[in-house]
């Protein structure tokens, strides 16, 4: 065995006592925290925890037990303590978290728990936890003296000018008792001679003085940092507000409440994500708002002037059967529920209240939009069915949807008739008859107008409004415009041909990500809805293909999509965990921790236990005679309550029984090898056995060894040895 120099080993494992002054300082910080909690009625039931901590701290002065230096018990206590208070953590409601009394009290408790844990840990180098306790008690004290706008100062606050100097005085008093921490304890034999157990008084005083200076310096620095901030706090907050105001406001998204035909549409092409629809397989046109009155370049009725009434979910056919696509809306300024025209039912998500208006087409709107909110679109099979949004047209609505306003140039009406006449002529010329089935003629009219517009007009983001009415100008004099113009023109031309039509704004869904469809603000679009007798409302989009949102803008950057995906996963996780109360979550985490450590402990214990299996005794001798003798001797020992364990030779076993072997031909096991059999007995426990004749036993063993391990087997000697054994066992039988 290697002899290590004892001076470099950690000093004695004696229990280290914390100086009394320091204990009082920590207790005082607990008391301050108690007063703080009392005054602010923040988690009153945690006060008894403070009492427990105080008792634990005092108890550490008298108890001899300490947690081992590398044990996991401190961590378990910390986690249990944090989880215990986790349920009391206040919700985020907008107030500054740092000065919320509940949070401050929680932090103070955490420092307090840590102080109690430090008092109970083993100190292998013989020094009390001076620095840790001073720091932790100071932090607790500071927590208790935190004053914010919502804090009630209470008794402590009134006397803080008195209590703080006492606290500091206690800490300073403890310096004298906290001896040096850098020099190790002298080795035992030196200490015994010199009787060194504390540093000379001179050195102790200077150390205390240095620590006091350090404390004063820290106080000075802290005050020096706090005072200017406090003095100029109003300026600082003003500056902060200015900084926030200069920050560019987030982009607004949503649908215009009264769209006006302008010269630019969706100029910046904002990629802000508006919607995410999962499992959507319907029409790309998601309509939001409908307008049926055109007046001076603007579509009306404006959304603000329409009356919305709350509606129940049943009115939206939210239990209809069909494929469900979940819409997540991320923009709270978009309150309209966008859905394809043929949607069979709409099921609002949890907490979403819907209101409806029937002024110009059926429009649903969310009443209390706090993004993100969700609703389901239910789509039945079949393409051309008429869903809840396709209410049969009333006479008033028909009149409105056929009305051509006075602003429109009469030439436009002529143009419409001309288009239809040309189309009919063409059909006649080609010999194709337009059947008179239900809805065939309106469909043909729509196709004719569509064909005309697509062949005579192109898409351009910028257009010249010109003078006079914008639609007339576009149809008669311009040949390029954006989707608003195309949609408006389609409405007017179709009305001129006797098809009731209205102007619709919404979003064009084209961007897919996995199984979801993403709709961005730049995908906003305008198109037409027409009433075809016999079929119902149909979507008519006459914007050229190159002008639809899927062709207008470059695809979204991969990084943007990645961030959005990440944000969605975080939102999903939040929604999942919001289902549990904090107590349930703490219990779950604690349970998992216990399961993990329990399993590990079990497995290690099992493995260790399995390794203790000792192989059975090896008897394979060359001769039967020897084996018999060995078995008999083992049985003899076992019968006399001194069985020899399989891992020990007989001679060692007999020696361990306390009987000296003489003469010492065999040298003893070197000290420090520490051969220990699992059943090593000492003389004291042998008292209960029948005493065996150990001298004879040793003789036998020596003879046996000479027979067993020699190169040649001596049969004569074997007989003698056998006789020896029989004499030995026979003697005992008597």
């Amino acid at each position: 065995m290697v002899n290590t120099n004892t001076a470099t080993e950690p000093a004695s494992k004696e229990v280290v006592k914390i100086p009394t002054a320091l204990i009082f300082a920590v207790l005082m910080s607990y008391f301050a925290l108690y007063l703080y909690i009392q005054a602010n009625s923040a988690a009153q039931e945690t006060i008894f925890v403070l009492v427990i901590l105080g008792i634990a701290l005092i108890g550490s002065r008298f108890a001899r037990f300490r947690m081992a230096h590398n044990s996991r018990a401190p961590w378990i206590l910390r986690i249990v303590g944090i989880l215990f208070f986790a349920g009391n953590f206040p919700q985020r409601d907008g107030s500054p978290l740092l000065f919320n009394p509940a949070v401050v009290a929680l932090l103070g408790m955490i420092w307090g728990i840590e102080a109690a844990i430090q008092a109970w840990r083993e100190r292998p180098w013989g020094n009390p936890p001076g620095a840790s306790l001073i720091l932790l008690s100071s932090l607790t004290f500071v927590s208790a003296s935190t004053v914010g706008e919502e804090t009630n100062v209470g008794i402590f606050g009134n006397y803080v000018a008195l209590l703080t100097p006492i606290f500091l005085l206690l800490i300073v008093l403890s310096f004298r008792a906290l001896e040096t921490s850098s020099t190790p304890a002298p080795p035992a034999h030196v200490a015994a001679v010199l009787r060194v157990d504390r540093v000379p008084r001179r050195v102790g005083n200077s150390i205390a003085l240095v620590r006091l200076m350090a404390l004063l310096l820290a106080i000075g620095v802290g005050f020096g940092c706090w005072w200017p901030v406090h003095m100029y706090r109003s300026q600082i907050s003003t500056w902060g507000n200015e900084l926030l105001e200069n920050h560019p406001a987030p982009e607004t998204a949503g649908l215009s409440s009264a769209p006006a035909l302008g010269d630019m549409f969706n100029g910046n092409g904002s990629p802000t994500r508006v919607l995410r629809i999962d499992n959507y397989r319907g029409d790309a046109h998601l309509r939001g708002l409908c307008f049926d009155t055109y007046s001076r370049g603007r579509w009306l009725p404006a959304e603000e002037s329409v009356r919305y009434e709350p509606t129940a979910a049943a009115a939206m056919n939210s239990t209809a059967a069909g494929e469900r696509a979940t819409v997540h809306c991320y923009v709270s300024s978009l309150r309209e529920i966008v859905a394809p025209l043929n949607v069979a039912g709409i099921a609002p998500g949890p907490g979403v209240e819907v209101e409806r208006a029937d002024a110009a087409g059926l429009v649903f709107r969310v009443d209390n939009a706090i993004s993100p909110y969700t609703y389901d679109l239910i789509q039945a099979q079949g393409v051309a069915n008429q869903g809840i949004l396709c209410a049969p047209i009333s006479p008033e609505e028909r009149a409105r949807c056929l009305n051509i306003p006075a602003d429109i140039d009469p030439k436009v009406i002529d143009l419409a008739h001309k288009i239809w006449a040309d189309a009919q002529a063409k059909a006649d010329a080609a010999g194709v008859a337009i059947t008179s089935t239900q809805g065939a003629i309106p469909q043909a009219k729509i196709d004719a107008v569509d064909h005309y517009i697509l062949s005579h007009y192109t898409y351009a983001l910028k257009s010249h409004p010109g003078t006079g009415d914008k639609i007339s100008n576009f149809l008669l004099h311009e040949n390029a415009g954006h989707c608003e113009y195309f949609a408006s023109s389609a409405v007017i031309l179709l009305r001129a041909l006797g098809i009731p039509s209205r102007y619709v704004t919404g979003y064009y869904a084209h961007e897919s990500q996995g199984s979801s469809t993403i709709v961005r603000q730049r995908d906003s679009h305008a198109w037409t809805e027409s009433w075809v007798d016999g079929i119902g409302w149909v979507t008519v989009d006459m914007t050229p293909g190159g002008g639809r949102p899927d062709k207008l803008y470059p695809p979204t950057a991969a990084t943007t999509r990645m961030w959005e995906w990440l944000a969605d996963r975080v939102a999903d996780a939040q929604a999942y965990f919001a289902r549990f109360t904090p107590a349930q979550l703490s219990g779950g985490v604690a349970g998992m921790g216990i399961a993990f450590y329990g399993l590990r402990w079990l497995i290690v214990g099992l493995r260790r236990r399995r390794r203790r299996v000792i192989a059975p005794v090896v008897y394979d001798n060359r001769a039967e005679a020897l084996r018999d003798m060995a078995v008999i001797f083992d049985k003899y020992l076992a019968d006399n309550n001194v069985p020899c364990p399989p891992n020990q030779p007989w001679i060692e076993h007999l020696e361990l029984l306390g009987i000296p072997t003489a003469p010492r031909l065999i040298s003893p096991v070197p000290p420090g090898l520490g051969v220990r059999g699992p059943e090593a007995t000492d003389v004291a426990t042998v008292k209960s056995t029948r005493t065996i004749d150990t001298a004879r036993a040793l003789d036998f063993v020596r003879e046996y060894n000479a027979l067993r391990f020699r190169k040649s087997f001596d049969a004569e000697r074997a007989a003698e040895t056998r006789a020896l054994l029989e004499e030995l066992t026979r003697k005992e039988a008597n």
Partner: protein
């Protein structure tokens, strides 16, 4: 009285062997007081043909032990004090140019000796360490193409301080393997230390030490050790112990065949010292610690979890069945 064997070589008897060994031990005990076990271990490693690693704090008598051993067997004693700037040529020797002849003359290094004390072997660079270790394992040196034999018996006592690691090149386990036995002396008891002070009063006791055996006797004893019977069951016991260390998950390196061979030989030497011509399992158990403990390498987790090498060997001895 030696016995003639069939081949005509004279062989010692076992009684003579034991007597001679006892003489050497007693001789050494007059100088190194109170350490019979350590002296016996050193003698065992000498007779087994291996080398010894003395791990000890300074001033416990390592040099004295090596010197008195050399004196007892009437052999040459050389000492190398290892320093970080030592070169392999300082150990093995090198050729010098003689201008007057125009030839190269080889000057032998300190390694051409019977007993070599390699002091503080962990204070020199690995290059120099490997030069010495190579010499130890091969018992001959090849310099500039010429092979030179070392004197027989060749026995190395290397020392290292187990507590100071600042500025050292600790021997890796692969090279510690070349030492048959690791021995510590340790501080003597107070009574023995009193004896030391008293005897040193009149002069160094090592000066009055006489030779009790010759080098040829040592060689004969080494030859006899090789003839000690080792029963198959005892050899299997060695292998089971070694297998235990190889299978232990706490060890990165178990015992190598060099280790099992060292245990085999040293057990033979121990049996011979005690006057037996056969090896008992007790010999194996007594030598397992000194011979095997320095050869195993602990896993990081075990090392910092407080497991000691001796603990592993103890467990092996506890868990392997002994042949009866």
């Amino acid at each position: 009285m030696k016995i003639e064997t069939e081949t005509g070589k004279t062989m010692l008897t076992h009684e003579q062997f034991a007597a001679t060994a006892g003489r050497v031990e007693r001789n050494l005990a007059t100088v190194i007081r109170g350490k019979p076990a350590s002296i016996r271990l050193v003698l065992i490693s000498l007779l087994a043909g291996g080398h010894t690693l003395l791990e000890d704090v300074p001033g416990t008598g390592k040099t004295t032990l090596a010197k008195s051993l050399a004196k007892s067997i009437n052999g040459i004693f050389r000492r190398i004090q290892f320093t970080p700037d030592l070169l392999p040529a300082d150990i093995t020797g090198s050729s010098f140019y003689r201008p007057q002849d125009g030839t190269f003359e080889f000057r032998e290094g300190p390694v051409f000796t019977n007993i070599l004390l390699a002091d503080e072997i962990n204070r020199t660079s690995p290059r120099t360490q490997s030069a010495l270790l190579e010499v130890m394992s091969e018992n001959q040196i090849t310099i500039e193409g010429r092979r030179r034999n070392l004197p027989q018996p060749f026995f190395v006592v290397a020392t290292q301080n187990p507590t100071e690691f600042h500025g050292t090149y600790p021997l890796p386990e692969a090279q510690l393997d070349r030492f048959a036995i690791r021995v510590t002396l340790g501080y003597p008891d107070l009574d023995d230390e009193m004896d030391i002070l008293v005897t040193h009063n009149d002069g160094e006791p090592i000066d009055s030490l006489e030779a009790v055996v010759t080098c040829e006797d040592i060689l004969d004893m080494q030859a006899l050790v090789k003839t000690i019977t080792v029963d198959r069951a005892v050899a299997q016991y060695i292998l089971k112990l070694v297998e235990f260390t190889r299978a232990d998950t706490r060890l990165r390196l178990g015992i190598s065949p060099r280790g099992s061979l060292a245990l085999y030989r040293t057990a033979q030497a121990r049996a011979a010292i005690e006057g037996r011509d056969f090896v008992l399992p007790e010999d194996i158990r007594a030598l397992a610690g000194p011979v095997l403990a320095h050869r195993i390498m602990l896993d990081t987790k075990a090392k910092y979890g407080g497991v000691q090498n001796d603990q592993i060997i103890d467990e092996a001895l506890n868990q392997v069945a002994v042949p009866r």
